[in-house]
Symmetry: C2
């Protein structure tokens, strides 16, 4: 069906455009899958056939036209985000790449991408499956690692609470905490199936379904002696409950507030913020980009745990670029278990 390019490449490929800025929850109508020509790579560039792309909660923020830490997606232009793929063609003056190489880069949401060679990272599919470089060994993994160990100043013996604990970041936070000697690791998730997974697969000491009762009460039951670290993926009620349960000198790493991303009202909680004075709590927002210097020890340590089986991960791979927006919306609704990934090609 697709016309073959003179060089052996297809003449066209598909990419997702944002066509309207969502108010509240995004809908399919806010996006369009468009067919475009496949360009040849210029000097210093490579053409990559993407095999997998990442969908992540932070992308919701980029759909708003507000100044933020990453620029908003432009209307009627391809969206972008983490992706891995195979080098299909190499432009002139692009040292270090050969067709067939595997790379990680930032131009997802499309089947083919022209990438600056300097902005791609070579990855080895013999160490881990390609998709792992978007998750457990990639940015989500480094987010968990740096957020827990650096931002939240995790110490051996701490009691750690993680929200969104069955998600890609959360499940890794909980396991790293356990492997580093937490005295107790507690997770919250949005279904009994996920709670089961936390307890049986990821080795959490306690877990609860936040839809089954007030978070504050369930947390108090799971952590009768309070918590020392809260890794926040959720915000809202979870943050308020954590502030209530944190012990003196407790720390909060704020990685996400997925509960409020789609809110059209200003976010209401936490109502108990004055407690941070008497308890001397520290709350700090984080973006993984500030912690790339930890990539070396992160890959060593997490790679070791993956090899010896002490750290586990799951992926939810939704096949087909045409389903990428559905996958993203499913992520916002919490339908994934582990890292949410879209499979684009084998």
């Amino acid at each position: 069906m697709s016309v073959t390019h003179p060089t052996g490449l297809p003449a066209t490929s598909r990419e997702w455009h944002l066509v309207a800025r969502p108010q509240g929850w995004p809908t399919l109508d806010d996006f369009a899958l468009r067919e475009v020509g496949v360009a040849e790579p210029g000097p210093g560039q490579i053409l990559v056939q993407n095999t997998h792309m990442s969908v992540d909660p932070y992308m919701r923020g980029r759909m708003n036209d507000v100044k933020s830490y990453t620029p908003p997606f432009e209307l009627n232009k391809p969206m972008d985000g983490g992706a891995v793929g195979v080098v299909a063609a190499v432009g002139p003056d692009t040292p270090g790449y050969r067709p067939g190489d595997h790379v990680l880069h930032g131009l997802g949401w499309r089947e083919y991408a022209v990438v600056e060679g300097k902005q791609a990272t070579a990855i080895d599919p013999d160490i881990a499956p390609l998709s792992a470089y978007l998750g457990v060994l990639g940015m989500t993994g480094l987010t968990a690692y740096s957020g827990l160990l650096r931002v939240a100043s995790f110490q051996e013996g701490d009691t750690v609470f993680v929200s969104g604990a069955a998600g890609a970041v959360g499940s890794q936070v909980g396991q790293i905490a356990r492997l580093k000697g937490a005295s107790r690791v507690i997770g919250s998730a949005g279904s009994d199936e996920k709670v089961q997974l936390l307890l049986e697969e990821y080795g959490f000491h306690a877990a609860f379904n936040y839809k089954k009762g007030p978070v504050a009460e369930q947390l108090k039951e799971a952590a009768p002696d309070g918590i020392d670290v809260y890794f926040d993926n959720v915000g809202g009620d979870h943050l308020e409950a954590a502030i209530g349960s944190l012990n003196v000198h407790g720390r909060i790493a704020v990685c996400g507030m997925i509960a409020v991303y789609n809110a059209t009202e200003p976010s209401p909680a936490p109502h108990n913020l004055p407690l941070i004075i008497g308890k001397r709590l520290r709350m700090e927002g984080m973006l993984v980009r500030d912690h790339f210097d930890l990539r070396g020890p992160f890959v060593d340590e997490v790679g070791g745990w993956l090899r010896d089986g002490s750290l586990r991960y799951r992926e939810t791979v939704v096949p087909g670029i045409e389903n990428a927006v559905d996958a993203f919306l499913g992520l916002l609704r919490g339908e994934n278990i582990g890292k949410m990934i879209v499979g684009l090609a084998d």
Copy 2:
């Protein structure tokens, strides 16, 4: 009128008791000034005639019967808090004290106090007036110093915003920031008179009256390039405005939230908390008790600035123990300029 004690001391003295736990704003009816006998100091103790006592915002929290960082005041017992005075009598086995010595201790809200010798600190009235040891050279000064320099990690060149800036802590925060090389120091206060004081006496670069318009708008005008540090004495709208104005990697030292201490509803703000992720803001609660190790450099540095006149302070001294509750309520209403102190004796 008062009967003289055999040792030359009065037989009775007055002290303030909390007699009812306030709901919302305290009223005079929640307190009673009671006459009690003056005890002789036992072994290891001194009897102190208080000359000045401190009233502080944190005392409002101690009037509630809730677990907090300091135990609540007990009903029908004397309240306590910072005080300075003259040693009137020395108990047996109490080395290091003589009648006439000046001391700082924690048993205010009374004319005479029996204090454990080990829990008093000798102070020198030749270095600074006695009352200064309750303020600029005391806990409020150390709060400003440690909160700005350690908790908020102040750096030369930072733009600093302080709320409650005409208060004891706030005015010192602003001046220390200026003296340490802040590029811009902005303060908010609740009257035009206080704003004038900030600009003319304390050397703030900009200041505004928060009662004259939305804090967020006035702050944006005063700090068009944003702020790097927010020293929070107020909470509420001020905190929300600061979160909006803080630059990437900005820091908030939360010293107080006087705006919400008397709230009977849960505190509502800040509605923009999710901004702390993208801006990687750090917010940390503080109590001065964690920073006593800084007392040496604090006294050296602030003492030097006091001597050469580069740091200024004001006190509001309300005379008479019978007016202590009025002074405390006035403090909560913002009627003081600088440290609020009650004078008990010359």
